[in-house]
């Protein structure tokens, strides 16, 4: 398994657009003012964290999925591959076999069941992993090529890369994809602590409850950060209080914050209260980290 030293914080949310990326980038930048930290963008369909940093690229590699590759010279056109594929990723059209790598789930059934080995599995490039450095901040992202849908393997690989490359960094922050589906579960399943970002609105509250359900399912310890605090109502706060869920911070609603975000700027350097909120979040995470050591 991964090393024991790095404390892994995943930042997630049910609803999109609540400020996950804002929190991840600002928190990572604040930590990097005093110690080494890794920020990992696992929203592989749409990794936007990088828009906030102008770092130096230190490493780049391809991400792959294994998919079957048709060897015409061996194929007897028996049709078994098409029959076994549950995803319509391989079809036979007369005398040719067509493989759709984007629909393929890499289950290997067609390849291994082919009686004449005419479908060897080969790596297909589906995106790139990039590792940037800016001062004490390491920023790692994986980006799927447009139209690729199989996100889970890239998420798993990115986590592995970070664990191997930065075993001695004490904190790593994982920006997760939105929603409650497989990619989210993959992104958060081995985090030591999860921060759920929400808005104090009916939509935010509804989606927060779904995210909380997911965290219970994964048996994760988690806390909530309320973004755009001041708009909406107290439903989220009352709910968290009633359920005994920690509210780590409230980030104020402000048009100026929206403007900074739209330009791709960090927030906390211009907003002391955001900096205080981030410090509180960090302190809470560190206390949990220490708690686990004891």
């Amino acid at each position: 398994m991964t090393n024991q030293q790095t404390f892994k914080i995943a930042i997630a949310s049910g609803k999109g657009g609540t400020g996950k990326t804002t929190l991840s980038t600002n928190l990572a930048a604040l930590i990097a003012e005093r110690e080494e930290v890794v920020l990992v963008d696992l929203d592989v369909e749409e990794p936007n964290s990088g828009l906030f940093f102008n770092g130096t690229l230190v490493h780049e590699e391809d991400n792959h999925n294994m998919t079957p590759n048709w060897d015409e010279s061996l194929c007897t056109l028996c049709g078994l591959c098409q029959e076994v594929c549950n995803f319509n990723a391989i079809i036979q059209l007369g005398t040719s076999i067509l493989v759709y790598p984007k629909l393929c789930h890499s289950c290997y059934a067609c390849s291994e069941l082919c009686p004449v080995n005419a479908l060897p599995m080969e790596p297909t490039q589906i995106g790139k992993l990039r590792d940037y450095k800016l001062g004490k901040l390491h920023y790692v992202e994986s980006r799927l090529n447009i139209g690729e849908e199989q996100a889970v393997s890239s998420i798993a690989k990115t986590k592995k890369y970070v664990a191997e490359k930065y075993p001695n960094v004490s904190l790593a922050i994982f920006d997760s994809p939105p929603g409650t589906s497989c990619p989210v579960m993959e992104a958060t399943k081995d985090a030591d602590y999860v921060i759920l970002v929400t808005e104090p609105t009916p939509f935010g509250f509804h989606d927060l409850k779904l995210a909380i359900e997911t965290m219970h399912e994964l048996k994760k310890s988690f806390g909530v950060v309320i973004n755009r605090y001041g708009i909406g109502n107290d439903e989220v706060i009352n709910y968290c209080k009633a359920e005994g869920i920690d509210i780590l911070a409230k980030i104020p609603n402000s048009r100026q914050i929206a403007e900074l975000y739209s330009e791709g700027h960090l927030i906390y350097p211009s907003f002391p209260e955001v900096k205080t909120a981030l410090s509180n979040i960090l302190e809470h995470c560190l206390s949990i980290k220490e708690g686990e050591r004891i």
Binding site: N88, A89, I91, L93, S96, L98, Y100, L103
Partner: protein, 112 residues
């Protein structure tokens, strides 16, 4: 000549189904015999993923000369349809099969 339609029903008065992969039916018109034949596509419609490739495969087996549909096939389906010696006409949504055939004969459907 055989003409295939993606269709929401089974006869000339049925509407064109604008979808390719998840079309309800595939209707084939053979102008040499002036007959319609109907293929139920509901099994494909219920595939979680990859409906486009599965429907393409069916079309291949039917080997029409012309396909008339609505929005047009997606990427996956297009890749399979390329392999066939068939012309594809789109933009026939909101027409019945009969109207779509007339529109095709008048040359008012877009070839893709």
């Amino acid at each position: 000549m055989k003409i295939a339609f993606t269709a929401a029903g089974k006869d000339w008065d049925a509407m064109i189904d604008p979808r390719f992969g998840r079309t309800e039916y595939i209707v084939i018109y053979d102008d040499s015999s002036d007959e319609l034949s109907v293929i139920d596509n509901s099994a494909v419609k219920n595939e979680a993923h990859g409906a486009g490739t599965a429907t393409s495969q069916k079309i291949f087996e039917l080997s029409p000369d012309i396909l008339i549909t609505g929005n047009g096939p997606g990427d996956n389906a297009a890749k399979a349809l390329e392999k066939m010696n068939m012309k594809i006409f789109v933009g026939a949504q909101d027409l019945t099969l009969k109207q779509a055939l007339e529109a095709y004969r008048k040359g008012s459907l877009k070839e893709c």
